[in-house]
């Protein structure tokens, strides 16, 4: 089954936020996603309303019970990502370390370029989150140093943290849309409700179901589904 790789060359743009919410949205649409947090911070779980000290199952460790939050099975993949065996397995393009019947969401830290490169051949899609600002724009050249952005086939860009009241942000967004129309999966606006939900240890869905950011994520997920030919699933249809 497909692997969706969430990685951005620039940190702090909300890649983890997007991975978490895409996973939840995909779960809501009937897919059975497994979200693997490959970062050191392990902040992915926070978006699922979990406490910072809540332990989660390590990837590759079958002894512990599954942790499923908001329909998403959460796995801590930091150690796995460091295992040589895992990396070696990844190096073989025909072998896959992931269960074939699940949809895998992988959140990879910005700095973990090596892991991202190892995972990429197995992914159907890399979701690259950026913010509408000059720094993030500049980082776009680093999405794949080997290839020009416009030629990337497996990459979709999501603009996050857009504040329309800022002229530069707005114009950057317009620029991105006009320049990389094909690569753009959508825009998620900056909404304080996201932060407040995390602070309250609630999912955004529960905290503010009408949140503008949530609405934007849904639009992004629709674009992802279309791109990966996932097709919406209904519950009871799995297998």
């Amino acid at each position: 089954m497909p692997l969706l790789l969430f990685h951005s060359p620039k940190g702090g743009v909300g890649s983890t936020f997007l991975a978490a919410h895409c996973a939840m949205e995909l779960a809501a649409r009937g897919h059975e996603p497994i979200a693997i947090d490959f970062t050191y911070q392990g902040s992915l779980k926070l978006f699922f309303g979990l406490l910072p000290d809540q332990p989660i199952v390590r990837a590759g460790d079958d002894s512990e019970e599954e942790l499923v939050a908001a329909g998403v099975e959460l796995l801590d993949g930091y150690r796995l990502g460091r295992k040589a065996a895992f990396l070696k397995m990844l190096a073989d393009p025909d072998a896959s370390p992931f269960p074939s019947d699940k949809l895998i969401i992988a959140d990879v830290a910005a700095a973990d370029h090596a892991l991202k490169q190892a995972l990429l051949p197995h992914a159907v899609l890399q979701v690259c989150t950026i913010t509408p600002g000059p720094v993030a724009l500049a980082s776009l050249t680093k999405v794949d140093p080997a290839q020009p952005l416009a030629e990337l086939q497996k990459t979709l860009i999501v603009v996050n943290l857009l504040d329309d009241t800022r002229t530069l942000a707005r114009h950057s967004n317009i620029f991105l849309h006009s320049a990389f129309e094909r690569l753009l999966a959508g825009t998620v606006r900056q909404d304080e409700a996201v932060n407040e939900a995390v602070a309250k240890f609630e999912t955004l869905e529960r905290f503010r179901p009408t949140s503008a950011a949530l609405a934007d994520v849904r639009a992004v997920v629709t674009a992802l589904e279309e791109h990966c030919n996932l097709g919406p699933r209904k519950e009871g249809e799995e297998g």
Partner: protein, 1473 residues
């Protein structure tokens, strides 16, 4: 061949449908039938309206056109007969208004038959090659704020940037506009002067630009981005397309929508025009330019020298000119721009004044009906648009028409109210439903009336003035975008409406008062009152609803809010953003609905952002309030870009103005209830405002005050007016009551009537002196004489033979009088030829009955005309008295009062020149009895000759009566007529017959008698001699005349000299002497006119003949004008009462103290049911005294009245047709035999050997025929036994005993059969019975059978269709005993008996006649086929209604195909039909 057959069949069907259509429109129906017709057509209308297909809509339209045409035809032919000048003026006004409405209805049906749904087409080719478009935005004095929006939106249109350019055409030459244009980068054009206003402005711009297409937006019309994309393609597809118009949509409510906001989702006023009407115009290639939101081809404009500047509506006129050049126009019914509606009612009215004036100008200057270049549907479509604006006068007429009746009592539709209902209802209903259906949701039922009423009063002047001077007036610009600080009531603009409301209220009140308290006085009838009040109430509702629009509601917002549903994001200072959807957006702010789970109360709003596809509009904004999940916010200052973006976001979207869902279609009832609701609220508000007093000084109080003054101020005046009549009325009623009693007792009767009594003339021959007794009844006084009042008088005219001299006379009067009369001052004075011959003192002793006989001086008798007058001078009091006191009367018997005359015959020598004297003397009032002498039993020719003589003498003697006794073989005493043929001879008549001749000579058997001998050598000569004498009177001289060269007149059908001609109206002066039409005295008695007419006059569709009456009467103080009258009766049937003095109340103010005479004219219907062969028209003046109080009364002397001799009886235009059998016409006028007055087509069948009585009956019958026609029966054919030729070609009269019924072939159709001496009433087969159900006669077979068998000795008359020839009639006069026959025929002269003879079987039962209708009916006469068909339909109203529906359904099929084909042609840009 097959094709030809098909064509032929199509043509035949078309002709039949057309004929049916004509029938449905023109055939009049009586009240009940018309109600049936109305009911069925209304039901059909309902059913058609329920089916929601285009074809049923077309059928409904056609049905509505048919019933409306029927109504208009009825109005035209039967309701325009006005009684007086005010009714004529008001009625004509209403009629013209109705004609206008009908014309608009018909044109409207054509126009909206098939609204063309023209789709947008894509522009072809690469964008770089698209047509160059110049966008013109003309402005004159509008604010920049308004123009900016339009310019931004125009520049924002989705079209290649270098293929279009926007220009501001500033006629105001304002620097800030120039600056703005520079700033935003659009063109700015201006000119030094403002000639030809907008048209001039556009033309100047045309000269300075060069684009292929020109698009025009009024400066407030904001286009959507898609405007050019959607429109330009059509100019590529149709190279002859000069103009493509799109709707003017208004995003602000129009005055009606705004001020009547109690109605939800009211469509805008323009929706109808920019919906079905322009789309309908487009079908006929007649969509016209509306000044804005249109694209025009420059090449076409160059041909018309630009835009038309001659009129103030340059737009429509330009389109007309373009079309005259052969260019096409189109209409794209998609809202691609939106503008501001006129804000206030006053401005709205001002704008419409311009339109109305402009359209009227075009109608006058460049009438679309004439001139070159247009096809008929185009002409009609343009004509409709222009005629539409002529609505003001008709609308006002419709609103105020019921006042004519309610206030002034004028009947402006000359028909009974129920009849008007019956005709108008299907017309109103079907046109309402058809209109509602074709207008769909774009106009609610009855709202057109409100819109029109709103404008009508203000548009009268511009339309009417423009009609006369079309080139005057200047262009005025409609202001828009104003604010209204306060709600207020614009009383000024609805002043005429308020006055009108006052008048209507006054009218209803006055009408109700008239009805409730003085119904007789004003002649007001309940049904007419109900009709007019219902109508007035409808007017009232419409007027109040219009007035309600003037209640201008506050409009404080600077920017118009546009209801629009867009996603918007709200940004808050706390970093939250909220998605919401807008409710309304204006250029100054918006309101938006957000999720109910949110509480935004304390969040500080900073911005809103509006996504616009690739761009996002972000505006700083302040929240004004948050309530019910709706946040209302105001934008902070917008910069140019933001403004532009906002306009694009709100107004520029392609679907910005596409309605989410079509408006609800509202039924007539719902709409009506809404209007009533508005009226109720308006009145309530008005009163509430009045109660609030000064709290809100300016608000609707004005309305309340106006309403009050209008309604109340008028009433005191009205009260004053009606008070005066009350008093007078009481007086009049009292007088009427007093006079009515004697008037009822005194039953007037015609002076000249048939004298059927054999008279009390006893000729006792004592030497040469003869004695004779003549009763007053013999002198023509048909009832006892009743004299009344202080000076009652009757004149009795009578004649004296010229061959006699009265040598002595006594007059016996049998009289009684009122015992209250004072004997010493009361007398009855008897005058003969104005000489007093006796005076009888009327003392109380003899009051109960006295017979007075007194001698009369014989020289007072004059040969010829004489007159006996009886004059009552009665007094019951010595002091003052009531001249018409009920105790002032005297009665004189007409039977027991008599003259006893002794007279001497004058020895006048025999002379043919004196004919018909001495055999008949016109001066004598006694019946004529002349024996007809034959040498032996008369053969047929002798009987035919006798018939000539009998009919001649009958016509001479007429009402006096006549009898002709056949005498065989001997000469009687006295006068006689002898028929002599060669071979026969009489003792003492030594005549040598040399040819047809006649001789008058002394009677050898009586020296005082004379005989007229009619001679001939053979049958032919005898007949000729008799015919010549009978028809050539007055031209013979001497004793003997030879008649071999005599010409016998040959009469055409209906040529009877006595029958009133029908080719022109006949003056009464031609029928009788003018002196007979003069009455004298305050009780002049009845004046009568006799006339005869063909009994089969067929007036349908008219009700009968017409009497155009002119009459003259005195006018003075003494005459009670309200109660005095002239009664008109026909044959004893009262017809009409005509007023003496106008019945109108206003005449009370103009009472003249002088005495004068007045002439009045009126028309009286002579109904065909009461028109017989012989007619008696009676005019009875009933003059009542006005001031009838004791001691004051002065009976005016020598009062004269007259019926002017130039009054006419108009029987023109009547056909001859009658449903037979109808014995009444036989008894009354000898019909159908007398159709040919010389009986040229009559055969008389007598028994093989007729007895004297049978011959006598035959001769008397011939006399009756002569009396009826005034011509001699010179061509009658007498037959005996079988004579097939005579049977086949003639109408038959059978006279004789029952044995004649043995001829079964002849009597096969008879209602009676003689079976072995037993009479039986013919029983018909069941099939015949079924047909009988169609016959108008009641079937009374059974009662006839019972009665006939009950009569012991049958004598009676049968009538039936001749078995030998269709349409021929057989009349059989039969009796068991032939001796009864003469009396039977004679009895027809008795009016009472005559009236009893009817149907097809009349049986004499000894005292009177019983009549039955047993046999089948048939038609006699000549009726054009179409009249026959129409008349048949008129008796089958349901079939007529079915025909109307059938025509509608049948025509709708081809019409549907035709329209569909036309629509296809239009959409494919093919050449047209």
């Amino acid at each position: 061949m097959i094709r030809q057959l098909h064509l032929l069949r199509t043509a035949a069907t078309g002709v039949v449908i057309a004929l049916l259509c004509v029938l449905v429109i023109v055939v009049p129906l009586d009240l009940q039938s018309q109600w049936l017709f109305a009911g069925l057509t209304i039901v059909a209308g309902m059913l058609l309206a329920r089916r929601n297909t285009r074809q049923s809509l077309i059928a409904l339209g056609i049905l509505s056109l048919i019933v409306s045409s029927r109504y208009i035809f009825w109005r035209t032919t039967q309701t325009l007969d006005f009684q007086n000048v005010p009714a004529l003026i008001l009625g004509s006004g209403l009629y013209i208004a109705e004609l206008y409405a009908w014309l608009i209805l018909a044109l409207g049906l054509l126009q909206t038959a098939w609204p063309l749904e023209r789709p947008p087409v894509e522009i072809e080719g690469e964008p770089e090659t698209w047509p160059l478009v110049d966008v013109f935005i003309p402005t004159y004095n509008e604010s920049l704020a308004i123009v900016r929006g339009t310019v931004f939106a125009a520049m924002d249109m989705d079209y290649p940037e270098d293929r279009f350019r926007v220009y501001i055409l500033d006629d105001g030459r304002r620097p800030e506009f120039r600056e703005f244009a520079h700033e935003v980068g659009c063109g700015y054009l201006t000119r030094p002067d403002n000639t030809h206003a907008k048209a001039g402005n556009l033309n100047t711009a045309l000269g300075k630009t060069s684009g292929e297409l020109v698009t025009i937006f009024d400066c407030d019309h904001v286009p959507t981005r898609a405007f050019l994309q959607m429109t330009v393609g059509w100019f590529q597809k149709d190279q002859k397309l000069a103009l493509l118009q799109t709707p003017h949509h208004f995003y602000s409510p129009d005055p009606v929508q705004r001020n009547l906001d109690v109605i939800d989702e009211q469509p805008g006023e323009g929706d109808l025009f920019y919906g079905p009407i322009q789309k309908g115009n487009d079908l006929w290639n007649a969509a016209f330019f509306c000044g804005s939101c249109a694209v025009i081809r420059r090449q076409a404009l160059q041909q018309t020298n630009g835009f038309a500047g001659e009129t103030v509506t340059e737009d429509a006129h330009t389109a007309l000119k373009l079309q005259r050049m052969g260019w096409n126009t189109g209409y794209l019914g998609v809202r691609l721009a939106a503008g501001l509606a006129t804000e206030r009612l006053a401005l709205h009215v001002g704008q419409r004044i311009r339109w109305a004036r402009g359209m009227t100008q075009i109608l006058r200057i460049d009438n679309p009906l004439f001139g070159r270049g247009l096809r008929l549907p185009q002409r009609l479509s343009y004509l409709n648009a222009m005629l539409h604006f002529q609505f003001p006068l008709p609308r006002i007429v419709f609103l105020t028409s019921p006042l004519a009746f309610l206030l002034f009592g004028a009947n402006i539709i000359q028909a009974p109210a129920l009849m008007i209902f019956a005709y108008a209802l299907p017309h109103l209903y079907c046109s309402m439903v058809s209109g509602t259906r074709s207008h769909g949701h774009d106009r609610r039922p009855f709202w057109s009336e409100i819109y029109e009423t709103l404008l009508a009063f203000h548009l009268v002047k511009p339309t009417v003035l423009t009609w006369f001077s079309p080139r005057k007036g200047k262009f005025n610009v409609t202001d828009k975008g104003e604010q209204l600080e306060h709600s207020y009531f614009d009383a000024h603009i609805v002043k005429p409406h308020l006055i009108c409301i006052g008048l209507v209220l006054l009218g209803i009140t006055v009408g109700a008062i008239k009805l409730a308290f003085f119904p007789q006085f004003f002649g007001i009838q309940l049904d007419t009152f109900v009709l007019n009040t219902a109508w007035a109430t409808f007017s009232l509702l419409i007027l109040i609803a219009s007035v309600a629009v003037a209640n201008e509601s506050r409009q404080r917002r600077e920017h118009v809010r546009i209801p629009v549903d867009l996603p918007v994001t709200l940004h808050f200072s706390n970093g939250h953003i909220v998605d919401a959807r807008t409710k309304e957006v204006s250029m100054g702010g918006l309101s938006a609905r957000f999720d109910p789970s949110l509480d935004l109360t304390d969040w500080g709003l900073t911005h809103i952002s509006l996504s616009m596809g690739s761009e996002t509009l972000v505006v700083e904004a302040d929240a004004l309030r948050t309530r019910n999940q709706v946040i209302t916010l105001r934008f902070q200052a917008l910069n140019l870009l933001q403004e532009r973006q906002l306009i694009r976001a709100v107004m520029g979207r392609a679907d910005a103005w596409v309605p989410d869902k079509p408006l609800e279609r509202v039924t007539g009832l719902r709409s009506f209830i809404d209007i009533v609701r508005i009226c109720f609220l308006t009145v309530k508000r008005a009163f509430a405002a009045k109660r609030r007093g000064s709290a809100t000084p300016r608000v609707p109080k004005v309305a309340a005050v106006r309403l009050e003054t209008a309604a109340i101020a008028e009433i005191p005046g009205a009260r004053k007016r009606v008070q005066k009549p009350i008093k007078r009325l009481n007086k009049a009623a009292a007088l009427l009551g007093l006079l009515l009693v004697p008037a009822l007792l005194y039953a007037p009767s015609p002076a000249h009537a048939q004298n059927d009594a054999p008279a009390a003339a006893a000729k006792s021959a004592s030497g040469e002196r003869w004695r004779r007794e003549v009763t007053l009844r013999n002198l023509g006084v048909r009832s006892p004489v009743r004299l009344e009042g202080v000076r009652g008088e009757i004149g009795i005219p009578f004649g004296m033979r010229r061959d006699e001299v009265v040598t002595g006379a006594n007059l016996t009067l049998d009289l009684s009088w009122s015992p209250a009369l004072l004997g010493d001052v009361s007398q009855l004075v008897i005058l003969l030829n104005d000489e007093v011959i006796h005076t009888i003192r009327l003392t109380p002793e003899g009051a109960s009955g006295t017979t007075v006989t007194f001698p009369v001086d014989s020289p007072l008798f004059l040969p010829g005309d004489n007159r006996l007058n009886l004059r009552l001078l009665g007094h019951y009091s010595r002091g003052c008295e009531d001249p018409f006191h009920s105790s002032l009367w005297a009665n004189v018997s007409n039977l027991r009062s008599r003259f006893q005359l002794t007279f001497q015959k004058l020895p006048l020598g025999p002379d043919l020149a004196r004919l018909p004297r001495p055999f008949f003397d016109p001066d004598e009032s006694l019946p004529v009895r002349i024996p007809f002498v034959f040498a032996k039993r008369p053969d047929n020719s002798e009987l035919e000759a006798a018939a000539s003589m009998a009919s001649w003498l009958g016509s001479e003697a007429s009402y006096r009566g006549f009898d002709f006794q056949p005498v065989i073989g001997q000469l009687p005493k006295g006068n006689a007529i002898v028929f002599l043929k060669s071979g026969a001879s009489f003792a003492g008549l030594p005549l040598n017959i040399t040819g047809p001749s006649a001789q008058v000579m002394r009677n050898p058997a009586d020296s005082l008698g004379q005989i007229l001998v009619i001679m001939g050598r053979d049958d032919e000569e005898l007949r000729l001699a008799a015919a010549a004498i009978a028809s050539g009177r007055g031209v013979f001289q001497g004793e003997h005349v030879t008649l071999s060269s005599a010409q016998i007149p040959n009469y055409p059908a209906y040529g009877a000299p006595r029958w009133l001609r029908t080719d022109r109206p006949v003056k009464l002066g031609e029928l009788t002497q003018p002196t007979f039409l003069q009455g004298s005295g305050i009780r002049p008695g009845p004046l009568s006119v006799q006339f005869q007419a063909a009994p089969d006059l067929f007036f349908w569709p008219r009700q009968g003949g017409q009497l155009d009456l002119h009459y003259r009467y005195p006018v003075a103080k003494w005459l009670d004008k309200s109660a005095s009258r002239l009664d008109v009766s026909l044959n004893g049937e009262f017809q009409r009462t005509l007023p003496l003095g106008s019945a109108h109340w206003w005449n009370w103010f103009f009472d003249t103290p002088r005495a004068a005479s007045a002439d009045a004219s009126d028309s009286v219907l002579l109904p065909r049911y009461y028109l017989y062969g012989q007619n008696n028209l009676v005019f009875d003046y009933q003059m009542l005294l006005a001031d009838k109080q004791e001691c004051r009364g002065m009976v005016p002397q020598d009062v004269h009245t007259s019926i002017l001799p130039d009054s006419t009886i108009d029987l023109t235009g009547a056909y001859h047709a009658l449903q037979m059998p109808n014995l009444a016409t036989f008894a009354n006028g000898g019909y159908p035999f007398t159709i040919y007055p010389d009986l040229a087509q009559t055969a008389v069948l007598l028994g093989p050997d007729p007895s004297d009585d049978e011959i006598r009956a035959f001769l008397i019958l011939m006399g009756r025929f002569g009396d009826s026609t005034g011509a001699a029966a010179t061509r009658v054919n007498v037959v005996r036994g079988e004579d097939p030729q005579a049977f086949a070609n003639n109408d038959l009269i059978v006279i004789g005993d029952l044995g004649l019924m043995g001829n079964e072939a002849l009597f096969s159709n008879a209602p009676l059969a003689n079976r072995g001496g037993q009479l039986t009433v013919t029983q018909r087969s069941p099939i015949a019975r079924m047909f009988h159900a169609v016959s108008p006669f009641a079937s009374d077979e059974r009662s006839a059978a019972e009665f006939t068998t009950g009569v012991r000795k049958f004598q009676g008359i049968l009538e039936f269709e001749s078995p030998f020839e269709q349409g021929r009639t057989v009349v059989a006069v039969l009796a068991d005993r032939p001796g009864d026959l003469p009396a039977l025929v004679q009895s027809m002269a008795n009016l009472r008996v005559n009236a009893q003879i009817q149907g097809d079987l009349a049986v004499f039962d000894g005292s009177g006649i019983r009549s039955f209708a047993v046999g089948p009916g048939y038609w006699v006469g000549s009726l054009p086929l179409w009249i026959r068909v129409a008349h048949w339909f008129s008796t089958h109203p349901l079939l007529l209604a079915a025909a109307a529906i059938l025509v509608a359904l049948f025509v709708s099929g081809p019409a549907y195909l035709l329209l569909k084909r036309q629509a296809e042609r239009r959409l494919n840009s093919e050449s047209e039909l």
